[in-house]
């Protein structure tokens, strides 16, 4: 926790085109190389870890990356696939081979229909930006009940926290079941008061995503809320 705060205080906001480092460093995310020098390609916070320099973005659309867990919404049904909106520029097809059930040709609508929410994993993105998604891994499923709301995809790492610390606090203090998709969609299920408290807390995280001592603030908010409820 302490380390997290120290890192925060040394933050420096960079603008596209800013020189981050010259030769000898590795170019991390949010950067580009020209003539051996590393420049920022995004508006964000400069981050230096060992010998890699990168930019942590402050805004931006969701860009699918292999391995991301995302929450999708079915927008169309085909005979052997579903079309899923995963908050990326294009909807992605979810093929029947990528779901945990055995689906006969033309019977896709008996399993999932338009409007259903699903927890998915991005298994691949090709150079044309086409996304391959799957529901076959452990823990992936159709999301029944609960509620979903969206935060800016750039804020998702703060909602999850360092190795899941923030999301663990949210889960423990509200008793809700929560799934956070990398695409900015968050699914919460529990009893109504607890859901509302969790939503309140996540809104706080989104609003103050880059301020210091966020974990403490969230803890206080949730503890106050639970006392009020009791």
């Amino acid at each position: 926790m302490q380390r997290n705060d120290n890192r925060e205080s040394a933050r420096e906001i960079v603008v596209p085109g800013d020189l981050l480092a010259d030769r000898g460093m590795k170019a991390g995310p949010g950067t580009y190389i020209e003539d051996g020098n590393i420049f920022a390609s995004l508006l964000g916070i400069k981050s230096v870890r060992s010998n890699t320099v990168g930019v942590v973005p402050l805004s931006g659309q969701y860009v699918p990356i292999r391995g991301d867990m995302v929450i999708g919404k079915i927008v169309d049904i085909g005979a052997s696939n579903w079309l899923v909106d995963i908050n990326a520029p294009h909807p992605s097809p979810l093929h029947v081979n990528e779901v945990p059930w055995r689906v006969e040709f033309g019977e896709t609508d008996r399993f999932m229909t338009v409007g259903d929410l699903v927890l998915l994993k991005v298994v691949g993105v090709d150079e044309l930006g086409r996304v391959q998604i799957s529901m076959k891994e452990h823990g992936l499923r159709k999301l029944a009940g609960g509620m979903v709301f969206e935060v800016a995809p750039a804020k998702v790492p703060r909602v999850i926290g360092r190795s899941g610390s923030m999301i663990q606090i949210l889960k423990n203090l509200t008793g809700c079941r929560i799934h956070v998709g990398q695409n900015g969609r968050i699914w919460i299920d529990g009893d109504l008061d607890n859901i509302l408290n969790a939503v309140e807390a996540i809104k706080l995280i989104e609003k103050e995503a880059h301020s210091k001592g966020l974990t403490e603030k969230v803890k206080n908010l949730l503890e106050r809320a639970s006392k009020k409820g009791a």
């Binding site: 085109g17 964000g44 805004s59 750039a154 301020s211």
Partner: protein
């Protein structure tokens, strides 16, 4: 150019070398930019440059419409420049016209040079530039605001594009023409410039200039773009310093 002549007894440049609004020949109008002014857009910027007032909004990268325009290898940067009907003295007939189509096109082309379009195949990055109040130099103002809005939208770019115009008024080369100077002046050269690499991404000329005059004008515009660039950077940085300080009132940086 053309139209009614300058009223009798008014000089565009007086005997002290001052311009009609009191500026020196190489002086910019006050410039103020604020990033992130629109909640529903992915990125936005509001700009005041002298009497010009411009809002730029960026959406995307998102699915490209019309579909036949999408490029399987890269994103399209599509600008839509529009002047509000109340932005000028005589009501402007609303809707796209020859001039706004031209400006949309040149702005898109200038911005395409800095955006990493290859990161977002088959998509479109839509940039809307709305001129609320016009007072000469709105294409430069629009381009300047649009590149701040793009950065605010978190779109990967090589650099920001800064823009400024120079021109010839009463046989003198001056910077950043005002309305009267634009109407009664002799020439106008808007310039779009990438400060880091010193590349020119927009260059137009309206009127007649000798080669020497053109070189002077271009040099003045390029120097001014570097000042504009500083204001752009400051606007972007300020957006997040303010957000973390939880201050509601936005400060303002001005260039004189």
């Amino acid at each position: 150019m053309g139209g009614t002549p300058l009223p009798e007894g008014i000089k565009l440049i007086d005997e002290n070398g001052r311009r009609i609004d009191g500026r020196k020949p190489d002086e910019l109008r006050p410039l103020r930019i604020e990033a992130g002014v629109l909640k529903r857009a992915d990125g936005s910027a509001y700009l005041e440059w002298g009497q010009n007032k411009v809002i730029a909004a960026v959406y995307g990268p998102r699915e490209c419409h019309p579909r036949h325009m999408q490029d399987p290898t890269r994103a399209l940067v599509q600008c839509h420049y529009n002047m509000a009907s109340f932005s000028v003295d005589d009501r402007k007939r609303p809707g796209p016209d020859r001039r706004s189509q031209e400006i949309s096109k040149i702005t898109s082309e200038a911005l395409t040079h800095v955006v990493f379009t290859e990161y977002f195949p088959r998509t479109s990055i839509d940039v809307y530039i709305e001129v609320l109040q016009a007072n000469a130099g709105t294409r430069c103002a629009g381009l300047t605001a649009a590149s701040v809005a793009l950065a605010d939208a978190g779109i990967p770019m090589r650099d920001l594009v800064a823009s400024c115009a120079a021109g010839k008024v009463a046989d003198t080369m001056v910077l950043d023409l005002g309305k009267e100077e634009d109407n009664f002046g002799q020439a106008d050269i808007p310039v779009g410039f990438i400060p880091r690499t010193e590349e020119i991404v927009l260059l137009q000329m309206d009127g007649d200039l000798t080669i020497d005059q053109f070189r002077t004008g271009l040099g003045m515009a390029v120097d001014a773009c570097k000042k504009v660039y500083e204001v752009q950077r400051d606007a972007l940085k300020r957006r997040y310093t303010i957000a973390s300080d939880e201050r509601e009132v936005a400060g303002s940086a001005e260039v004189k």
